[in-house]
């Protein structure tokens, strides 16, 4: 307990407290723009009374997490091999890379209409849109990382008699791990961005939908609880990804 207290970031805690205080002040004074915005106490009360015991609220969490989980996982499982192929196979690169570069600038949300037309269920189309954002990020990161491998690292392995397959496994794969980590950090944030927007447009469940419903029904507390929940969910996901990254790179402490 004492150790935990010692490691607590006091400055950060103070800044959050100051933020809540300012918010309270502005909401109580009905400052311009704050007419319909509830103060933190009202939000906390609504959370405690209505949301904390509500199964529907926690289902929103589960639904959004599941979409991000599937979309993100699929983006890594397909994107990392694609990036490796693009980086290592000349012919494949020449064939496929221009296509990647054409599709990459299309924002994930621009995929929404096509995705709804294409996929048989709304659920699949949302997972697909959540997949698109992190997918291109990881592909480009891994691709660039393969191209940026120091030539001495490859030369040395060749001199020591390693076969191409051995070099791939022992030199190329570990070389791109730091880039995979960066791609994952960026990707998980984008996945949350996209899933929330997609839920507002095209879903009847999830934290994005919850927030949107708060707006439609003029319930300020719901909007704020939705937003804070999304923030916490994103933060939690980042913690998980950061933990995975540490495990992936034992040589970087």
């Amino acid at each position: 307990m004492k150790r935990w207290l010692g490691r607590l970031n006091w400055r950060g805690a103070a800044s959050i407290a100051a933020f809540v205080l300012l918010w309270t002040l502005l909401a109580r004074l009905k400052a311009p723009g704050f007419a319909e915005i509830p103060d933190p106490a009202a939000v906390a009360r609504a959370f405690w009374d209505k949301y904390l015991p509500s199964a529907a609220y926690w289902r929103s969490w589960a639904v959004s997490f599941e979409r991000v989980g599937y979309g993100f996982l699929a983006s890594q499982l397909l994107g990392i091999p694609l990036g490796l192929l693009l980086g290592t196979r000349r012919l494949f690169h020449d064939l496929v890379f221009p296509l990647v570069e054409l599709l990459r600038p299309i924002p994930p949300l621009a995929w929404v209409p096509l995705s709804i037309l294409f996929w048989p269920t709304a659920e699949l189309s949302i997972v697909f849109i959540t997949f698109i954002g992190p997918f291109f990020i990881i592909v480009i990161n891994v691709h660039d990382a393969v191209r940026g491998i120091r030539k001495e690292h490859l030369w040395l392995a060749r001199s020591l008699g390693a076969s191409p397959a051995y070099i791939f496994r022992r030199v190329i794969l570990p070389s791109v791990i730091p880039a995979v980590a960066v791609g994952m950090t960026l990707g998980i944030a984008v996945a949350w961005n996209v899933v929330i927007a997609a839920e507002m447009i095209a879903s009847d469940a999830g934290l994005g939908r919850l927030t949107w419903e708060g707006y439609v029904s003029h319930t300020g507390t719901t909007v704020l609880i939705g937003m804070i929940s999304i923030g916490l969910a994103g933060y939690l996901s980042t913690l998980i990804v950061t933990y995975a990254e540490r495990k992936m790179m034992p040589w970087q402490r």
Binding site: E152, R158, P174, W251
Partner: protein, 256 residues
């Protein structure tokens, strides 16, 4: 007997770097290669290692032409090439495991033996990023020596080390060399280092470069402080300096 013979080598990138470059390395000798910066020393080293092909000319080791990278010719690079994601032990074991010349147990035993000899026994489970520059260089030597190469190419290996470590590493390599008499090409841009290490010094000139001089150092080993203060040392230093800084010497970018 010549172990390495290089003849008529030419290499052109944006402009001619090497032209009609020829020399021989005696088997079991430590030869130093010097020359102005940018004159193509590293390019030449990469050709001997088999990473870069010449536009013309031939490079031969023990009667066999050099056409690709191979385990009999190993290079220590200017910047460390140790793989940062492998422990010291895994880095050293890489060669025999990759080439399948030793069993895992045998490679491990041999690697530990070398690490012990190089004063790195306690560091086998560290990662290269956790070692000092001098230690990394010793790991690289172990990584090469476990394969018993026929030719060692060291490309300014001790550059960037502090003066103390540098002196120790020079002494270290000389001791190693005295034991193994492994044919060595040692590239440096430091005159003092050339005279501490070399039995013979090859001097390249500038753009496009050839071997301009071959100078027998003729100083006894070990090169003790007394040796390095002798008449002969001063004389050979003068000769080498004259070869390097000859008036009208074609230095890259210069018009002299």
């Amino acid at each position: 007997m010549a172990a390495v013979s290089v003849s008529g080598v030419r290499k052109r990138y944006a402009k001619d770097v090497l032209q009609d470059l020829s020399f021989e390395l005696e088997a079991g000798a430590l030869t130093v290669l010097m020359g102005p910066s940018g004159c193509g020393k590293t390019t030449l080293a990469c050709m001997l290692a088999g990473y870069v092909a010449p536009d013309a000319g031939t490079l031969v080791l023990d009667g066999r032409p050099i056409t690709a990278a191979g385990r009999e010719r190993l290079m220590v690079f200017q910047e460390t090439a140790l793989w940062p994601w492998m422990t010291v032990l895994d880095n050293v074991m890489f060669g025999p495991r990759a080439a399948g010349t030793m069993s895992a147990g045998e490679a491990r035993r041999k690697a530990l033996e070398l690490l012990d000899k190089f004063g790195l026994a306690g560091f086998r489970d560290r990662y290269p990023g956790q070692l000092s520059g001098g230690m990394r260089r010793r790991v690289e030597l172990a990584q090469a020596l476990i394969n018993n190469p026929r030719l060692m190419i060291l490309d300014e290996p001790f550059r960037g080390l502090d003066v103390m470590t540098r002196g120790l590493m020079q002494e270290y390599y000389l001791k190693l060399f005295a034991e193994s008499r492994m044919t060595t090409l040692f590239i440096t841009s430091e005159l003092e280092e050339a005279l501490v290490m070399g039995e013979r010094v090859l001097v390249m000139d500038g753009a496009p470069a050839r071997i301009a001089r071959s100078i027998d150092v003729g100083l006894p080993f070990p090169r003790t402080p007394q040796v390095l203060a002798s008449e002969r040392y001063l004389e050979i230093k003068r000769v080498l300096m004259a070869a390097l800084y000859l008036p009208g010497h074609r230095i890259e970018g210069g018009s002299a």
